[in-house]
Point group: C2
Chain length 241, copies 2
Amino acid sequence: MGGSYEVIDEPAVNDSSFRPSSLAVCLVSGGMDSCVTAAIAREENAEVAFLHVSYGQRTEARERRAFGELADHFAVTKRLAVSIESLKAIGGSSLTDACIPVTKADLTSPEIPTSYVSFRNAHMLAIATSWAETIGAQRIYIGAVAEDSSGYPDCRPEFYEAFQRAIDAGTKPETNVKIVTPVIHLSKSEIVRRGLELGAPLELTWSCYAAEDQACGQCDSCALRRRAFAAAGTPDPIRYA
Amino acid sequence: MGGSYEVIDEPAVNDSSFRPSSLAVCLVSGGMDSCVTAAIAREENAEVAFLHVSYGQRTEARERRAFGELADHFAVTKRLAVSIESLKAIGGSSLTDACIPVTKADLTSPEIPTSYVSFRNAHMLAIATSWAETIGAQRIYIGAVAEDSSGYPDCRPEFYEAFQRAIDAGTKPETNVKIVTPVIHLSKSEIVRRGLELGAPLELTWSCYAAEDQACGQCDSCALRRRAFAAAGTPDPIRYA
């Protein structure tokens, strides 16, 4: 149980943050944000273990492929890919329920979109925490983005601060696992730029919510990605339908 | 997001706590604590939805049977039984890893026993929260016991308080889900007595960690149960090997 429950969210990759003996778990969905987060985790830790969690979303197989290719790129040996049966069984989201269509993006709407999967990131963090405690990792990296995202409540800094307290209270006294959210305060275009600076393999990532062969270009996730590359002034290396 | 983040843990079943229009999710493992918790939830709510979560534990099938029999007893129509693949994949506990033996109970030891499944109750609460938010339930009942338990960190009140904040921060603004831990401050023998008062079907419950045909009588869970019935001065309705 850690004495402090602050979430480490400094986005700077600098020498002082590197921990030569540290092992970190990094949640890698296969998207752009997690790719850049993984590149940052790789800079800041001696070893990074990659965790992929699918949850019955439409593009599960394509994201899993991106995870494998990213893990190969970063030469990661500790890998765990698991599925959350319950989120599929619960449904209620356009990502996990085939009866709810994936809507076209409306980035100006204050509404939480139909792609919201209830409390999804809590499941991700619970799995990451159990794995981190069991393998002795000290940090969990997650590529949540607060601003310029789709407005999901489980992407906000307050959620990670609260979950950190739950980790501190709910794990063994000798366990000290900290959540790190290195891109949470960045805009999507800043994430693209950071990725380019770090040489992150953005061409291997998959963002589309709707399709697995070619990105649709029209869902929330595609719309945010295209806007980010446009704002960063660099071409998106993936192709769109 | 609720304004308050206190965990409701008043154990008293009284008229004022009954909410005639409320729907509650109750986590039902099939053990004694969850059976009594379910009986309390039934008294306090118009409708109770039963949630069973297995996680690759040795006695999974037997607990699932107890869940079904308890749901039948309480005439519950909303039921969800899911499995957590990740905890089995992660291992590290005598409950989920066949290579780690289930040790005989030592109820005097301050050590966390080998049956500890890392951060297990966070997974349970994440699933319960996603389901509650999706079906519109306002409460989640969980039969955690702080004292007189096996010393698991995720059974302590601080953990539930912290997780409540994570729910408040990580769900939709209009969602208001409260964790209720009605037996958390009771001793195991008080739980037996409360169960008897409420007419809870303790004969349908399963507690043993090691066996599925007849309870072993020697694991932590059997030892706690037997001590509880002895202290309550009433015979345990199940048979032991």
